[in-house]
């Protein structure tokens, strides 16, 4: 498979505090990679560096074989906080990336309607973000990221603030969008269960380094029942042990 992004010897520190040290990994096209690790392990910083929003102290990021030097539309970002612009309606928020790209109104309408239909947000279209539930807000933010031409999406604990039920729902929505839109995803979370359920590959970050890379080979499409299987629980335990040691 073609590598979409390669991280080579990446290091970053805040003054004296080393946040990331010598990271090396790659993500293949259409792969779903989860990065897990304890609080303060540098997960968000890593995503921001990949997005071009922070500069690494050392190392390279190759995106589609080329050195990545600044933010690009080909890499989308979904933040911990949904970042929906409060003065725009759900519809206006979702089509914002296309407006920035200056696509024609016809094209914007077409792509917007198509995706809003897919995630079932049509009846919330004219609402403002403050009128939505937390789950709906995140779904709108997710939809906004998937409407773009971005080939790689960086998701920074997007569902961390949701309750378990909504989180499960959002995970399924995410898999649906991912399957339909064929994007590569780099998903940061501190939930082992979420990572095992969603990803093809998991990177465990600890003490600023990659502690382990694991492959998750549960068949797709996945549904919520697989999280009750013995294999799933074993995988979860294995990662938990690695995390704790």
């Amino acid at each position: 498979m073609k590598k979409i992004i390669e991280i080579k010897n990446l290091s970053y520190s805040y003054t004296d505090l080393k946040v990331l040290q010598n990271l090396n990994f790659s993500v293949e096209a259409n792969e779903f990679l989860a990065i897990i690790g304890p609080l303060g392990s540098g997960k968000t910083t890593l995503l921001k560096i990949i997005a071009g929003l922070k500069k690494a102290d050392k190392g390279n990021i190759l995106f589609q074989g080329k050195n990545l030097l600044k933010p690009t539309r080909k890499i989308g970002f979904i933040f911990q906080k949904n970042n929906l612009l409060p003065w725009l309606t759900v519809w206006e928020n979702i089509i914002l990336p296309l407006k920035i790209q200056q696509l024609s109104i016809k094209e914007i309408e077409k792509r917007g309607e198509e995706i809003i239909e897919l995630v079932d947000l049509k009846k919330f279209k004219h609402m403002y973000p403050h009128e939505l539930s937390g789950g709906m807000e995140q779904l709108a933010a997710l939809t906004r990221a998937f409407i773009t031409d971005a080939e790689l999406l960086l998701l920074d604990e997007p569902f961390a603030s949701l309750d378990v039920i909504n989180r499960e729902k959002m995970n399924l929505e995410l898999l649906k969008l991912w399957k339909q839109r064929k994007k590569t995803i780099l998903f940061v979370t501190h939930s082992i269960e979420e990572a095992v359920f969603l990803a093809d590959k998991i990177i465990l970050l600890a003490s600023n380094k990659i502690k382990k890379e694991l492959t998750i080979n549960f068949p797709r499409p996945r549904n919520i029942n697989i999280s009750k299987s013995k294999k799933f629980l074993n995988k979860k335990c294995q990662i938990k042990n690695l995390w704790q040691n």
């Binding site: 989308g76 970002f77 409060p86």
Partner: protein, 254 residues
Amino acid sequence: MKGGFFVRLINKVLPIGSFILFLGFWYLILLIKNYPSFILPTPHEVAIRFLKSITSGILPFHIFITLQEIFLGVLVGFSLAFGLGYILAKFKFLKLAISPLIIGFQAVPIIAMAPLLVIWLGPGIEAKVFVCAATLFFPVLINSMVGFSNIETNYYDLLNSLEANFWQKLKFLEIPASMPIFFAGLKIGVTLSVIGAVVGEFVSSDKGLGFLISLAGGLYDTPLRFVAFFTLSLIALLLYLGVSWGEKKLLKWK
């Protein structure tokens, strides 16, 4: 529903009630002190003078002159203050360089500067517009500077990741995000501008509500002075309500 109706009714009745109370208090002072009309006229004397000055066309003429100065003053002062607020919020080194100057100028009483401004800019509308603009300039500037500086960096991250250019950031983020501050500033601005226009007219003018106050003072026509006071208050109130209405209509998302 019933509770809602009563709350709405009370909200409407309260301002009227406080006005009636104010008139009662006024009559009470007159009853106790027994002042002559040229020191403190009765409310009904003021009302009669008000009607007379309306029908004679004196009041509408002076209102029109003062309103002209207010609108121009707000336009100039507000645009400059809001624009400079944006620039200072964006460029920290400029903020550092200009802040002492701004604070220093803010301390100069505009009423003391007004006679000089008339000499510099002439006796026409320019000096009055300048005084009016200067009165509202500093509060609006500080307000907008703080507002623009406080736009969340997360939103900038989002627009940067979408490769938005300068104008797109202005259009989709900075202008809408600054709207609440814009209206807060405008509310301060329009009320202060009324004071500014009158200060300008006090110093040198032969028309406008400030001139009317001076004229009435010279003629010992205190009811006319009160007419001008109340007209100014009414103008400030209407401008404030107009801005509040605009805010409610435009900031539905709040």
